[in-house]
Symmetry: C2
Subunit: 260 residues, 2 copies
DNA sequence: CGCGCTGTTGAAACTTGTCAAAGTTTGTGG
DNA sequence: CCACAAACTTTGACAAGTTTCAACAGCGCG
């Protein structure tokens, strides 16, 4: 991630809630136990002993270049992926050619949960910048989570969180108008960058206006106009994909403003 | 469920009342092993021995009248609920007063998965007709699924299926226009009724136009107009909440029709 | 230095929402 | 069992928001 500002504090937290600060950072090897993301990712709350056993699962690392597919809809499901670095989008396609971005995923988040239900991936996952993921064989994960209660519970929480997130997006798509959607989108990104130790006020978008539009159920022109409007109103400074939030409260107010 | 046509195959939806009337059957107890839904619900694929152990979990039954809340957003999460009979909706509310229906659930489906992530329910679940559910203490379910591989895997599939379903709704909300959304909605209901042994062509809607609209991201007037249009075009026969699908292919074609 | 991709802006067209009124059904209490 | 109220549904006319189409600007790359 080439954030405009590097990590301002060293990680960490899961949801917007728990905050914890880790002072030192060891060298990263291909193991959860010395991964800087362990408090953000799957290993949350595990004991050192348990962590070691998780290490054995995460055998494979995979590097992707910008534009590469991590997996495609229709491919057999085998792995859950944890994002070590980088930025992804997932999208679904239907026969008639329409498609929609269903999410943007960043460091510490899991990809592939959609594949469990039918043993086949139901969406595409595409790297929006050079990225690295840990591939976790799902059957092994199930095996280990039968042995480690904490891991099991945490995994269930992650899946549930995804469901709750999706409900939020449904809400956004179903009830908000264009500018409200974009405000909600930016505030969400801001919060997630913040949670990862980056500036919540200034960041680079990894996705195009078209991809934002697809995610928000809008045409790219509408997204572009909303950006312009926000800039006119002094809420943002926008230079291409570089965003600076000037007025967070203003954005929040706009987002929750009753329509009409 | 007062379907316009009873079950067309032998999948019997038992209520306490129905049981009394059927002398040949044993009295229905609060157990999965003699529940007619066991092939639709959580116990799929379990061995008789394993089924017995699941029985011990499902201690509580709960009856609800039309309009009753099964749970409310903000309440502590403790149970997963399996619908034995009836029909539910879930909805989310945000501060500014907006709300959205996030789903309609029927027999054999699970409710409450949203609560796992934060130990608190994130939406309301409301009965749209008199209903009955089995309450499954989630911690027990986790415990048992650490012992029964099949149960664990099936539960993961159910959660994943919910995620995939949500992606479908996002697609619908993000890319489809009003009539396409309603067509998709009706075809989905039709399919689910069919899976339960009811007529896929003729059914009663359990929800109001307003609730359909909320789910589809439309105003009730728009839903009403779409129904009228479908009727004019000979796709449906609509009498209040009673729907008869006259032309399934027509609906499908309409649903997948490119916009423009 | 120009080409291609991405983003911005304008005007017109289209879809859906809003407001309003009237029709229909359901539920309740006399 | 009827009458009335409340809730729900339908329909029309108009307004608002978003998309579509089109032209152009800016940036990055070869």
């Amino acid at each position: 991630m080439d954030q405009t500002q590097g990590p301002v504090n060293r990680l960490v937290l899961t949801s917007a809630r728990a905050t914890k600060v880790m002072p030192a950072l060891e060298v990263v090897k291909a193991a959860c136990s010395n991964c800087s993301l362990r408090e953000l990712c799957l290993p949350i709350g595990l004991q050192p002993e348990e962590l070691k056993r998780l290490d054995e699962l995460v055998s494979t690392r995979r590097r992707l270049r910008r534009g590469d597919h991590l997996y495609r809809a229709g491919q057999p499901f085998e792995f859950i992926y944890a994002i070590r670095s980088g930025f992804f989008k997932t999208d679904v396609l239907i026969e008639d050619g329409r498609d929609q971005v269903t999410g943007f995923q960043m460091t510490g988040e899991l990809l592939g949960l959609d594949g469990i239900s039918s043993e086949v991936h139901s969406c595409n996952a595409i790297a929006l910048e050079d990225s690295e993921v840990c591939a976790i064989p799902f059957s092994h994960l199930e095996g280990l989570s039968r042995q480690i209660h904490t891991l099991q519970h945490h995994f269930h929480k992650v899946m549930s969180r995804e469901i709750v997130r999706d409900h939020g997006v449904m809400m956004l798509l179903g009830t908000m108008r264009a500018e409200e959607r974009l405000a909600a989108f930016l505030l969400n990104l801001s919060q997630r960058f913040k949670a990862r130790g980056y500036s919540p006020a200034e960041f680079n978008l990894r996705m195009s206006r078209d991809e934002i539009g697809s995610y928000l159920g809008l045409k790219l022109e509408t997204v572009s106009r909303a950006f312009s409007r926000f800039q006119e109103d002094g809420l943002l400074a926008v230079h291409q994909r570089k965003i600076r939030i000037l007025n967070t409260t203003g954005l929040k107010k706009l987002m929750t403003h009753q329509r009409g």
